[in-house]
Symmetry: C2
Subunit: 173 residues, 2 copies
Amino acid sequence: VSTHAASPDLPDASPGDRHWLTDQERAAWLAMSAMMTKLPAALDQQLQRDCDLSLFEYMVLAMLSEAPQRTLRMNDLAALTSASPSRLSHVATRLENAGYLERRRCEGRGRSTNAVLTAQGYARIVEAAPGHVAEVRERFIDALSPQQLTTLIEIAGEVRKRLDPEGPWEAVG
Amino acid sequence: VSTHAASPDLPDASPGDRHWLTDQERAAWLAMSAMMTKLPAALDQQLQRDCDLSLFEYMVLAMLSEAPQRTLRMNDLAALTSASPSRLSHVATRLENAGYLERRRCEGRGRSTNAVLTAQGYARIVEAAPGHVAEVRERFIDALSPQQLTTLIEIAGEVRKRLDPEGPWEAVG
DNA sequence: CAAGATTGAACTATCAATCTTC
DNA sequence: GAAGATTGATAGTTCAATCTTG
């Protein structure tokens, strides 16, 4: 019992068991499940080993490095990194203590906070990027054909609609 | 700087910056990244809210429920759930204390340990399954066409080759 | 009082070290 | 001494509560 009925060779499988997913659906889900677990783990390991950064920390610094003025509102940064406000806030505290970013209250109209990448933070991401990108290529991108990449973009788009009832602004970055 | 060059409108972008990934590759990676973060989070939430189980705990119980004798060696269970031995061991301790599984030394030749699902554990997974499967359908499976599912299985297979140098035994379960 | 953001407490995962068995 | 498995310490995430501003 996970996403389908118990194995038929089990003598005491519940009689009411039905197939919840077809074989194809089940295969897709299990494959996706394994990939979602192992791919981030592999990228995390490389970053920890070579750069003493987590994948999430990398994402935060990277998104800031690409933003105009290297600045983003905490709220937007959370959305770009798919993180909860709480998670981002904790990590921002660490990154701020490390000297990689600064937080400033939005002046003028002000209930929001800006995160700004420091020069040190920019140097850090520039240093870390090549190794990370190489890992993304080796473990992910280079494993796939252009057509598979295209389909994957479609797939992720469809899934996002189911996860974010509210709108995708547009392409990120 | 994340997986490609810094934005062109940045006055002080490093002159040596190059495109690390093509637009398509970058889009695929960012889309995948968001999906890998949000999909497990959504499934976790449903299970926590309705069943007081984490997604990983669910997977552990589910894999056991499908195994012959509802029994698996810890090592195999770790592989099936894409977890480190350490992670599985900690969770097994919790699940054992909750009465959902038992651990027994493999008798006869014995450096390995068996995890056995209890009747209580089986009841738990049977109870949790419908809600979980409904969520998997709503957030993932039903968003995709059969063709997309097929491609996704291929994609995950290719990526797995890059992540597990060693062999995939065969279809899981 | 709602939105944006942060905090502290409880929980979970990861890493290195350990223990046992072959 | 290596494989299978576990443990304890450390680090990170989540949840609920809080604080501030419009």
